[in-house]
C-alpha cells in the first residue's frame, strides 16, 4: 500500500513536471512592421526562441494605427501584449495614459547607458524625465539617387552633406524636358518634362516632415518651450516652405502632386528621392536599378534631418514572471540588433550599428545618425502630428506644395489649428 502511494506520487510529479516543461512561458510581442522589416524581426524572434527554450515569443504585426487602437482596447480589457513596439514620439501619449512601465532601472540593470546609443534614439525614450522605452533604431530621411542617371549627367555623387545650392544645381542638371533642355536654359518646357531631378512627397504628411527638418536646420523648435503651443518664428517657417515650394514651382525640378514619388524614382522618371530607409527593400527588388544614398542637403545653418525611431516598451499590468522575461528578451534584442539593419532601419545601439556600414546603400543614413531631429514628444502627438487627411500639417503641405498657395496665410492657419488642438 505504501509502495503504491509512493509510486502514485512519483508518477504525479513526473506528469506535472513534464507538463510544466512542455509549457514554456509565452510572450506576446506586437509591432507595426508590415513590410519586409516584419520578416527581419520574425527571424530575430525565431533566433531568440531557438536559443531560449523556456520562452516562446510570438510576434504579431499590423499597421501602426490599428495596432495602437487594438493596444488601447486590449489594455482596457487587461489583455496588453508583453512587449509593444512604437515610435519615440508615441511614447508620451501612451505613458501619459499610464500604460507603459518605466524602465529606467531595468535598462541600467542591463548595463545600458546613454553613451552607447545614438542620442536622438536615446532621448526619444523619455517622458517627463522618466524612461519608458528601449531604443531600437533610427529611421530618417535621406536622398536616394540613381547612379546611372548621375553618370549620364556627368555628376559625381556626394559623399556626405552638401549645401542647398549644390543640391539645387544637381537637381537642375538632372531635370530634362522633351527637347533635352534643363530648367536653367532658355526654351525649357515645364509642361513636358521627361526626367525630374528630385521626387518629393507633397500629398501626405512627409511634406510637413521635409519642412520640419528645414526649420530645425535654422535652429528653431516647432513648439514653444512649454510644448503647449506653436512657437517657431514665422519668417523661419516661411523660408523653409519657400525652399521646398521653389523646387516645384520656380525651378521645376520636382513633379507637382506626384501620387507615388517612390514609383517615379524606381522607374527612373526622377533621379533622386527624399525618403526613409524603409524603402530599401523596394530599391533592392527593382531590377536594373543601381542606387545609393547621401544625406539630405544642409540648406540652412545647421545639419538636421527629420527622423524617428522604433522603441520597445513593456506595457503595465503583467505578472513578475512575464515582466522579467520581457526585459530579458528586449535586452537580448538590443544586443543582437545588428541584423535589424537588414530591414533598412539604422540600429540605435552603437555596437550594433557597425554592421550597417557593411550593407549597401546605408551611407547617407549613417552619416545623418547624429543629426536626427525627431518631432516634439507630446501627449497629444496623435492629433497634432497626425498623418490623417484632416490633419492641419497635411493640409498645409498640400496647399503650399501642390496648389502653390501663398505661404504665410497657410502657415498661420496651420498654427491656429494646432493651437486649437492644444487648447481643446
Amino acid at each position: 500500500m505504501k509502495f503504491k502511494s509512493v509510486l502514485f506520487v512519483a508518477i504525479a510529479i513526473l506528469i506535472l513536471g513534464t507538463f510544466s516543461m512542455a509549457q514554456p512561458l509565452r510572450l506576446v510581442f506586437w509591432g507595426g512592421w508590415t513590410g519586409p522589416d516584419g520578416n527581419v524581426m520574425r527571424q530575430l524572434v525565431s533566433e531568440y526562441n531557438s536559443t531560449h527554450p523556456n520562452v516562446v515569443v510570438s510576434l504579431t504585426t499590423m499597421q501602426w494605427t490599428p495596432l495602437f487602437t487594438k493596444f488601447l482596447v486590449s489594455s482596457r480589457g487587461g489583455q496588453s501584449p508583453n512587449i509593444l513596439a512604437m515610435h519615440g514620439p508615441d511614447v508620451p501619449e501612451f505613458a501619459s495614459y499610464g500604460l507603459l512601465t518605466p524602465i529606467g532601472n531595468i535598462i541600467k540593470g542591463a548595463g545600458f547607458e546613454a553613451s552607447q546609443f545614438a542620442p536622438a534614439a536615446w532621448n526619444g525614450t523619455f517622458y517627463k524625465g522618466k524612461q519608458y522605452a528601449f531604443p531600437l533604431d533610427l529611421h530618417m530621411n535621406a536622398i536616394y539617387y540613381n547612379q546611372k542617371l548621375f553618370e549620364k549627367a556627368g555628376i559625381t555623387p556626394p559623399k556626405g552633406w552638401i549645401t542647398g545650392k549644390e543640391f539645387l544645381d544637381m537637381a537642375i542638371k538632372l531635370t530634362v524636358d522633351k527637347n533635352g533642355k534643363h530648367p536653367n536654359q532658355a526654351g525649357f518646357d515645364p509642361n513636358n518634362v521627361v526626367q525630374y531631378g528630385i521626387a518629393l512627397y507633397s500629398l501626405n504628411w512627409h511634406g510637413f516632415l521635409q519642412w520640419y527638418e528645414l526649420l530645425r536646420q535654422q535652429g528653431y523648435n516647432f513648439l514653444n518651450s512649454s510644448m503647449n503651443e506653436v512657437g517657431y518664428p514665422l519668417n523661419a517657417g516661411q523660408k523653409a516652405w519657400s525652399w521646398l515650394q521653389d523646387l516645384f514651382f520656380k525651378y521645376h525640378v520636382a513633379p507637382v502632386g506626384a501620387n507615388s514619388p517612390l514609383k517615379d524614382f524606381l522607374i527612373g522618371k526622377t533621379a533622386m528621392l527624399e525618403d526613409g530607409p524603409w524603402e530599401m527593400p523596394a530599391m533592392e527588388a527593382q531590377k536594373g536599378l543601381k542606387w545609393s544614398t547621401f544625406p539630405v542637403p544642409q540648406v540652412f545653418k545647421y545639419k538636421a534631418v527629420w527622423g524617428s525611431g522604433h522603441v520597445l516598451t513593456i506595457p503595465v499590468r503583467q505578472d513578475k514572471e512575464h515582466m522579467k522575461a520581457a526585459e530579458e528578451f528586449v535586452t537580448w534584442l538590443l544586443k543582437h540588433s545588428d541584423k535589424w539593419a537588414l530591414s533598412g532601419n539604422i540600429p540605435a545601439y552603437n555596437s550594433s550599428r557597425k554592421f550597417a556600414y557593411s550593407l549597401p546603400g546605408r551611407a547617407g543614413f549613417l552619416a545623418e545618425a547624429s543629426y536626427v531631429a525627431m518631432l516634439p514628444r507630446i501627449p497629444k502627438e496623435s492629433q497634432v502630428f497626425s498623418s490623417a487627411s484632416v490633419s492641419p500639417i497635411v493640409v498645409a503641405g498640400q496647399n503650399i506644395l501642390v496648389r502653390d498657395k501663398t505661404i504665410l496665410p497657410v502657415m498661420k492657419w496651420m498654427n491656429e489649428q494646432i493651437n486649437a488642438i492644444f487648447n481643446r
Partner: protein, 292 residues
C-alpha cells in the same frame, strides 16, 4: 392542450435565438452603449467624463465635420442618380432576349463581389496620373493627363466613378428581379393597343417597378451615405479634405485621435439620418400600397 400549442408557438423564436443573442451582444448593445459614449469625453483607457450634448454642439461648429457632410452629399449626388438610372437601364438591357445576356449580367455583377479595399487599389492604379490606364486612353484622344486623385476638383468624381463601377451590378439585379415580376400579358396588351416602347415603359413598366425603385433608391442612399473604404484606400480623404466623408471623419476622430465620445456623436448623426431614410421609405411604400 393549450400549453402544448403555446410551446409549439415558441419554436420559431427558439430558432431565432442564436441570431438574436449575437445581434444583441454585438450590434444592439454596443449601439446603445455608443449613445452614452457620445455624451462623454473618453479616450478608451481613461475615465469617461460626462459632457451632455457638448459633442453634438461642437460637431455643428466644426468646419471639418461640415465639410465632410457636404462632401458626402456631393458624393451622393454624383453616385445615386447614376446607380439608380444606370442600374435600371442595364437591367432592362439584360432583360431582353439577346445573345450573351447571361454573360453580360455576370460581368456587370462581378465587381460587386470584390472587396471594397481591392476595388480601391484597382482604381488607384487606373487613376494614377503618370501610369494609369485611364490617362493613357484619354491621352490618345489628345487630352492632357488629369491628376485624378491629387486634384481637389477631380478626386471626388474619381471616387464616385469607382463606386458606380463597383455597386451598379447590385442595383441591376434588384431591378431585373422587379422587371421579371411584371406579367408579360400587360406589355403585350399595351403593344396590341398600339403603345410605343416608350409609352409601355412609362405607363406600364415604371409604375409596376415602383416598389423595387423605392427600395433601390433607399438602399443606394443608405450605402452611399456610409461611403468609407474606397475613400480610405484611394485618397485617404485628401487632397485638402476634398474627399473627406462623414464616416471617414468618424474613423479619424475615434481611432486616430482616440476621441471616442466625439466619434460616437458623429455615428449617431449618421444613425439619425439613416433612420430618417428608412422611415421615409416605409412611408412611401405604405402610400403606394406596397407595404401591408
Amino acid at each position: 392542450m393549450n400549453g402544448k400549442k403555446r410551446s409549439y408557438r415558441m419554436v420559431p423564436y427558439l430558432f431565432l435565438l442564436p441570431y438574436l443573442f449575437a445581434f444583441i451582444t454585438f450590434r444592439f448593445g454596443p449601439s446603445i452603449a455608443g449613445f452614452f459614449v457620445s455624451l462623454t469625453r473618453w479616450n478608451i483607457v481613461g475615465q469617461a467624463k460626462f459632457v451632455g450634448f457638448r459633442n453634438f454642439i461642437d460637431l455643428f461648429q466644426d468646419p471639418n465635420f461640415i465639410k465632410s457632410l457636404i462632401n458626402t452629399l456631393y458624393f451622393m449626388l454624383l453616385t445615386v442618380p447614376a446607380l439608380v438610372i444606370g442600374g435600371l437601364m442595364i437591367a432592362m438591357l439584360v432583360d431582353q432576349p439577346l445573345r450573351g445576356r447571361t454573360a453580360t449580367r455576370t460581368f456587370v455583377f462581378m465587381p460587386y463581389v470584390i472587396m471594397s479595399t481591392v476595388v480601391g487599389v484597382i482604381w488607384l492604379w487606373i487613376f494614377d496620373a503618370q501610369y494609369g490606364i485611364l490617362n493613357y486612353y484619354i491621352g490618345l484622344l489628345g487630352i492632357r493627363p488629369i491628376a485624378w486623385l491629387s486634384n481637389v476638383n477631380w478626386a471626388m468624381p474619381a471616387v464616385a466613378i469607382a463606386t458606380i463601377w463597383w455597386t451598379i451590378g447590385f442595383n441591376m439585379i434588384l431591378f431585373l428581379a422587379g422587371l421579371q415580376d411584371i406579367p408579360n400579358e400587360l406589355k403585350e396588351a399595351a403593344r396590341i393597343d398600339g403603345a410605343s416602347s416608350w409609352q409601355t415603359f412609362w405607363n406600364i413598366t415604371l409604375p409596376l417597378l415602383r416598389p423595387t425603385t423605392i427600395i433601390v433608391v433607399m438602399l443606394t442612399l443608405i450605402n452611399t451615405f456610409q461611403v468609407f473604404a474606397q475613400v480610405y484606400v484611394m485618397t485617404g480623404g485628401g487632397p485638402e479634405m476634398a474627399t473627406l466623408t462623414v464616416v471617414q471623419y468618424m474613423y479619424v476622430q475615434s481611432f486616430q485621435y482616440y476621441r471616442l465620445g466625439y466619434g460616437s456623436a458623429i455615428s449617431y448623426i449618421v444613425f439619425v439620418f439613416l433612420v430618417g431614410l428608412i422611415l421615409l421609405e416605409r412611408g412611401l411604400l405604405k402610400k403606394s400600397g406596397d407595404l401591408d
